[in-house]
């Protein structure tokens, strides 16, 4: 055991500079059994005490050449919003649900589940690398339906992941290791972090056309053409529902054609499902694209997130699912996903997983969840309608604003360009991302008219 190291350090520079008596007390404090309390002044000291004069620096920093990274485009919006003091300001940046009073929302079922979990007082042992078994079972069943052949035949490799991002990253790592010559096709545009994930995982990507600015709708021909043109065996990243950032989803008929083309080219569908139940209000309806692909006997990857549909944003709960041709393949794939997770974070966090498993596993809580989810989705649909009505009422140019109603989910692509989006922020204090995306979850019906004014002004008066 280390001999009393504290006393031997008494001669070190820091404490030897102190006057004699203080040095004595300093050492005395250090040798007591209890560590010095950390003090509660840390919360107040947000600003630096002072900047050190480094004229006596002996050696340069090893990190001296590191440049300041740019702020995250999406999360940076909230930071800017917080700094704005204007009373009309609206935060339509990050995709977190807000109530009509623009408050964050913790679902009642989540509170109930957490209260139950407190009562049960379970332990906090490590989960297995693949996560909580009850959660993995529940999440796959939610996605496919309990009676789905892929479930009954045990053909799905499911590993709990750190929400959508973490699940996508595990999948990307799998692709990099086992499909080193394959690339991922991502929609243009797509969620900003998709590219970062594949870049960091060293998976090459290219874009397929998706958004048509002329119609503020889907460029379906472009999409199909680009997927067809890609090298055989590419991974095609698809948004299961409520495309982020556009809110534009293919119709069921279009989905079938997309599946045809993917099959033709032996591509591998890779779904990002972040809004199951949150888009239409129905868990089954929002999973229909994924289920249709699975029903064709295809192998596919699906990343899931419970950030939005269960409001568990900060708990980081999601899963990566790989539908394989057989249970043996699924078993092997799962083992390799584990091998990728272990050197990343060893095993995933329990709290969010238990919440989900307890809600889905209890029929009362599950029903209640579906109701709360339907009402969240319902609120978003109703502000869409109100925004649309306000735009139609206030805009006399005859512009067709119906794309707002056709889009689905938390986000809407307004069709505003960067300059126009900047005008939204600078003149109207409406915070959104530069691609013209607004989060309807952050819009209250009381603010729809103000937003309509802002959009109309930006669209018509700024180019």
């Amino acid at each position: 055991m280390a001999s009393s190291p504290i006393l031997s350090l008494a001669s070190s520079t820091a404490s030897s500079a102190l006057p004699c008596r203080r040095r004595f007390l300093h050492n005395l404090k250090a040798t007591s059994n209890q560590m010095t309390f950390l003090g509660n002044d840390h919360i107040n000291s947000k600003q630096s005490f002072f900047r050190t004069s480094m004229s006596v620096a002996v050696e340069n920093s090893k990190f001296t050449d590191i440049t300041m990274a740019p702020p995250d485009p999406i999360l940076g919006v909230s930071e800017a919003f917080r700094a704005d003091t204007n009373e009309m300001k609206l935060n339509l940046g990050v995709g977190a649900y807000r109530t009509e009073d623009l408050q964050p929302y913790v679902l009642n079922v989540v509170k109930k589940a957490e209260t139950l979990m407190l009562e049960w007082a379970e332990n906090k042992e490590y989960l297995p690398i693949e996560g909580l078994a009850a959660f993995n079972k529940a999440t796959a069943e939610l996605l496919f339906g309990t009676e789905n052949p892929v479930i009954l035949q045990q053909r799905v490799a499911t590993v709990q992941g750190l929400s959508g991002t973490g699940s996508l990253r595990l999948a990307a790592a799998l692709i990099e290791r086992y499909f080193p010559s394959s690339k991922v096709l991502i929609s243009s545009p797509t969620w900003g972090n998709h590219k970062n994930i594949f870049n960091d995982a060293r998976v090459p990507w290219s874009e397929y056309r998706y958004y048509d600015p002329k119609t503020v709708g889907l460029d379906f021909d472009g999409m199909i053409s680009d997927i067809k043109a890609a090298p055989e065996g590419s991974f095609v990243l698809l948004h299961g529902c409520a495309h982020n950032p556009t809110g534009i989803d293919p119709t069921p008929e279009q989905w079938e054609i997309i599946a045809d083309v993917i099959q033709e080219k032996n591509h591998i569908p890779f779904f990002d499902v972040a809004y199951q139940g949150f888009a239409s209000g129905s868990l089954d309806k929002d999973a229909s694209s994924v289920r249709m692909f699975a029903a064709r006997g295809l192998e596919l990857l699906i990343a899931q997130s419970y950030s939005k549909n269960l409001g568990l944003y900060a708990e980081r709960i999601g899963a990566i699912n790989v539908v394989c041709s057989s249970s043996d393949v699924a078993h092997r794939v799962k083992s390799q996903l584990k091998r990728l997770a272990r050197p990343m974070y060893s095993n995933p966090p329990i709290h969010g997983a238990r919440i989900v498993a307890n809600i889905v596993g209890n029929s009362d809580l599950f029903s209640e969840w579906k109701e709360e989810m339907a009402s969240m989705a319902g609120r978003i649909k109703s502000v869409r309608k109100k925004l649309y009505d306000s735009l139609c009422a206030k805009d006399n140019s005859g512009k067709d604003w119906s794309f707002i109603l056709k889009q689905i989910g938390m986000f809407s692509f307004t069709g505003l360009n960067k300059a126009q989006s900047d005008n939204m922020t600078n003149k109207w204090h409406v915070y959104m991302t530069k691609d013209g995306r607004i989060s309807l979850a952050g819009l209250s019906s009381a603010n729809c008219e103000y937003l309509a004014d802002a959009i109309i002004d930006s669209y018509h008066n700024v180019s």
């Binding site: 055991m1 280390a2 190291p5 504290i6 820091a14 209890q34 560590m35 010095t36 950390l38 003090g39 630096s48 005490f49 900047r51 050190t52 620096a57 920093s61 090893k62 001296t64 590191i66 440049t67 300041m68 999360l75 913790v106 957490e114 407190l118 332990n123 906090k124 052949p149 009954l152 750190l162 991002t165 990253r169 972090n193 970062n196 045809d260 032996n266 064709r296 006997g297 950030s307 409001g311 944003y313 900060a314 708990e315 980081r316 041709s325 057989s326 249970s327 043996d328 393949v329 092997r332 083992s335 584990k338 272990r342 050197p343 990343m344 974070y345 060893s346 966090p349 329990i350 969010g352």
Partner: protein, 455 residues
């Protein structure tokens, strides 16, 4: 009916029909056992759905060696079986422990109706970060007060190591990292996957079951200038062998003279000696000299928050400006990995650390865990001595922390598993936390038998 292949010759309608038929016949088609794809159907569309999988080349990964011990233990029906594998604390009754202070903190959090579950910032919970830095560096650390430290919440020790390693691989000029021989099994994989080149330095001396200090100094001395060096802050895993304070000072001087970048893995602060300050001395020594270093902290053991995945990565920089830039780059590593960290565990830690009474209570519970482990060491040592087991077993009480490197070889280990139902890793490592007063005699018997019957 199972129409032709799908490479364009059949219509979409035909393919959909084929798919539907395959779907309906699904259960008869896919074998449950390995490789039994006895399919009557004609070739399917593309390469999936039938005997071919796009994942055919994916082989079964090996069972994790440490976690595999528990798997084997669980299968054993013997009433005297002992699990001395994985490093999670157990009570005298052999049960997992959730600290009282943790339960209280959790209660406060869950019952606080004003709490929300909004995304944390990419760097995590601010309070948690500040408190964690102070915990490891000292409440009055000048480095903290001068804002020279950037601290980001990460997923326990592993996550902190990985984020730190990824950062270094991108922004540090030297990509060699030296890790002690032996070290925690996951270390080489974490650093390797992050893109660092992993080398080892001598550490454990089997002949003394102690530190090979000369070897260590030689290997660090011949490392490339600026290389990264992994140090276990205290309670080295798996050996339990730590340098003395004097040895740490010599290591520090050597490291600074060669501009080596220290990367500390601190997984047992407070858990090793029972004293939070004592267990942080190695880190603080390096920070005191004004130089830069990196620390990965875990709250898995010392707060018993294993499954909540709570940890922090601190990078101590020369000045606040560098620290700010470093933090911005850490965010770029984290965002594409998991966006932002989980809130629950970090909130528990922050709640405990910022409340004077809860902090005090924690130190008491922490010391009790450490003391129980030290007690098990003493008991095992005494039991072997009283049996007259050949050999010098003093390393059991000299080593520190959760683990003991017994010095038993893999044959002896296998013997102990087979004959005495003792489960441990084949390198001879035992988790003292898995022992109790009741079970020490059985382990002592097993060791005695293994040593006397097998060389």
């Amino acid at each position: 009916m199972h129409g032709g292949n799908a490479s364009g010759s059949s219509s979409p309608a035909d393919r959909r029909l084929s798919a539907l038929v395959r779907h309906l016949e699904g259960s008869s088609r896919d074998g449950i056992d390995a490789g039994n794809h006895s399919i009557a159907a004609a070739p399917t569309s593309g390469s999936y759905g039938g005997r071919n999988s796009v994942f055919d080349h994916v082989v079964m990964g090996p069972e994790d060696p440490i976690l595999g011990v528990t798997v084997a233990y669980n299968k054993d029906p013997s009433p005297v079986k002992m699990n001395l594998g994985v490093g999670a604390y157990r009570t005298e009754e052999g049960k997992p422990l959730v600290l009282n202070v943790v339960r209280r903190a959790e209660q406060m959090l869950v019952n606080d109706s004003s709490r929300v579950k909004e995304y944390l910032p990419i760097v995590g919970l601010a309070d948690f970060n500040k408190l964690s830095a102070k915990l490891i560096l000292g409440a009055d650390s000048p480095a903290v007060q001068e804002n020279r430290v950037t601290t980001v919440q990460c997923l326990s020790g592993t996550g902190s190591l990985r984020v730190g390693a990824e950062f270094l691989a991108r922004h540090y000029h030297q990509h060699t990292i030296l890790i002690p021989q032996p070290t925690w099994g996951n270390h080489p994989k974490v650093f390797g996957l992050a893109g660092l080149s992993v080398k080892t330095y001598r550490y454990y001396d089997p002949s003394t079951r102690g530190l090979d200090f000369e070897g260590l100094m030689e290997d660090l001395g011949s490392a490339p200038s600026g290389a990264i060096v992994l140090f276990h802050a205290c309670a080295h895993n798996p050996t339990g062998v730590d340098p003395t304070a004097q040895q740490w000072e010599q290591i520090r001087q050597l490291a600074r003279s060669k501009a080596l970048l220290p990367f500390f893995d601190s997984a047992y602060q407070g858990f090793a000696s029972g004293n939070l300050d004592t267990d942080a001395q190695s880190v603080r020594m390096f920070v005191k000299d004004g130089g830069e270093c990196i620390v990965a902290q875990s709250f898995a053991k010392n707060m018993g928050l294993y499954g909540e995945r709570v940890g922090a990565l601190s990078i101590v920089c020369r000045n606040a400006d560098v620290a700010g830039r470093v933090e911005s780059q850490l965010k770029l590593v984290i965002r594409p990995m998991y966006s932002n960290p989980p809130i629950h565990g970090a909130s528990i830690v922050a709640t405990v650390l910022k409340d004077r009474n809860m902090f005090q209570e924690w130190t008491v519970e922490l010391k009790a865990m450490a003391d129980r482990i030290i007690n098990m060491r003493t008991q095992l040592f005494d039991a072997l001595r009283s049996r007259g087991t050949p050999g010098d077993w003093s390393h059991i009480i000299k080593q520190i922390g959760m683990f003991t490197f017994t010095g038993l070889n893999s044959k002896q280990v296998a013997f102990m598993t087979k004959e005495y139902h003792i489960y441990m890793t084949s390198d001879g490592r035992i988790s003292m936390a898995g022992l109790s007063s009741r079970t020490v005699p059985h382990l002592a018997d097993a060791i005695h038998a293994a040593v006397t019957r097998l060389a």
